[in-house]
Subunit: 302 residues, 2 copies
Amino acid sequence: MLDDVALFIHIARSRGLSSAAAKLNLPAATVTRRLRKLEEKVGAQLVHRSARKFALTTEGDAYFEAFADLVTQFETARQGLRSDLHELRGRLKVAAPTNISVGLLEPMWSGFLNAYPEIQLTLNLSNENKDLLETQIDLALRVGPQTDMRLYQKRLGCVATMLVASPEYLAATGELNDPEDLRQHKLIWVSALPIWQLSNLDTGLQETLHLSANVAVDDIGLARQLARDGHGIALLPVSEFWENFETGQLHPVLPRWQGQKRDVYAVWPTGRLLNARAKCLRDYVQDYLAERPVFQGALPHL
Amino acid sequence: MLDDVALFIHIARSRGLSSAAAKLNLPAATVTRRLRKLEEKVGAQLVHRSARKFALTTEGDAYFEAFADLVTQFETARQGLRSDLHELRGRLKVAAPTNISVGLLEPMWSGFLNAYPEIQLTLNLSNENKDLLETQIDLALRVGPQTDMRLYQKRLGCVATMLVASPEYLAATGELNDPEDLRQHKLIWVSALPIWQLSNLDTGLQETLHLSANVAVDDIGLARQLARDGHGIALLPVSEFWENFETGQLHPVLPRWQGQKRDVYAVWPTGRLLNARAKCLRDYVQDYLAERPVFQGALPHL
DNA sequence: ACCTATAATTTCATTTTTGGAATCATGCTG
DNA sequence: CAGCATGATTCCAAAAATGAAATTATAGGT
């Protein structure tokens, strides 16, 4: 019956059965019959009609007012779902961490846009985790443990962390032989890596260190900068210095030890269907990360 | 297609095809087929189903979220219209003038309620014309010219007006022979009858008088009371004193002259369908008034 | 008043949908 | 592991809907 009500709404808007039939690509006979069937069900005539004259009855007015907006919303929702579910065109709003996006991942964004020129990508870069529901983000890339239960998450890769310092700092203070030696050093702490959990590449031995930091910051990029400037030893994701590692501005400290690996995730809200574009991007990112050791947990000096 | 979407919503809510079929009073074969047809149109499976297990796909979730509220609104609107249009049960909000409603018309309200015990009548009495749209009145009884173009109106009857004064007042001042004599008297003016247009019952002669009133009030009941108390001559609708006329508390002044007749109307907003209850009441009122001379323009002393 | 053009309705052969009955699938219980 | 109960699907005759073509209705123009 809802289809017949929708038909009636179109008839009312078109102010005639023939023009409604034309708009809906239906024969006039079908429109006539279905309107009459609806009127029989309702138990009232909805339309006064004759050749060249058209008016709604008072019942028809009531029906129109009650259902017109609903029919519009139905059709809008249906259209939106059709295009949103299946088409690789239109808007796609993505959040991603600033550090890796303007560095290692810039070619990935560029490649995606070239591959899908009809997708209008809005890329919100931030090193903070924005609320996806509030900001209406379709998909977010995140690094590190994801604890928000409102989000679906798919693991796309992982990044190792390791201890680094500037060569000047190490020349002044001497090399370290053991994680315990860290206590004698200036340390740069960053909020993303609150606990320093180190594991030995050779023996598999694990140590969790509770250290007192000389400097504490909440931005990984700043921590890298401070380490490079000789202010101490930092535990950093290798993505932060992978590209420039050969320049020697940051040296590994305790090179046979590594920090905990940080997984890279795609996340999106549970209530939200992942449309074709977001799925496409997610798969594109996964493929891109699969081909780069830095996102498969590799270390730059090995 | 909207019918199939609605069916899908019911399937999702019932968490099964068989239970949805039972609720909708449809064969399971029909439900199965129409769901599959919808899935073909959508180009995606909406439901994972097997014997004893049921789950929506992510596309199904999206469809459910997009359409569930709309389907509910559709069904609510449809149910509302069905009952509102045709059933003589439920709410009916009516506005009517206080004076005639607690007097002459009280038996009419009582009779209507007895005749239609399932109608829940809300009777808003006032001698002011309330905004029907704002107060969501279904139907209003009004007396006098109706100039609001947003209202449909149907004339149900009419009430004559005439000049009256207390016997004490007339004994003190003497009888009148001609409308011009009114100028020598104390007059009680009421806003509902701003112009005194008198017509002679015998000759048909009409006079429009522009008089200076001693007292001006905006409530007809108060005007009646003042006249009864000997404060002068008032031009009043006969409905105001029809019942008590034989008690002699108010005497006709210039008994062969009458004031302008005031029509009684049922009015309702043009955009609003007059439902079965309001129609029923309107017709009931018209029949009731038709049987009472006071509402057919009669004078009490003739 | 008549004619024409347009809108609505009706007819009927064809297509599609329906629903009862039969069949299949599967999860739970013993 | 087998059997049973329940849910889902398929089959097919019957019913309903469809749409092209023909017909009817009517409003406007001459």
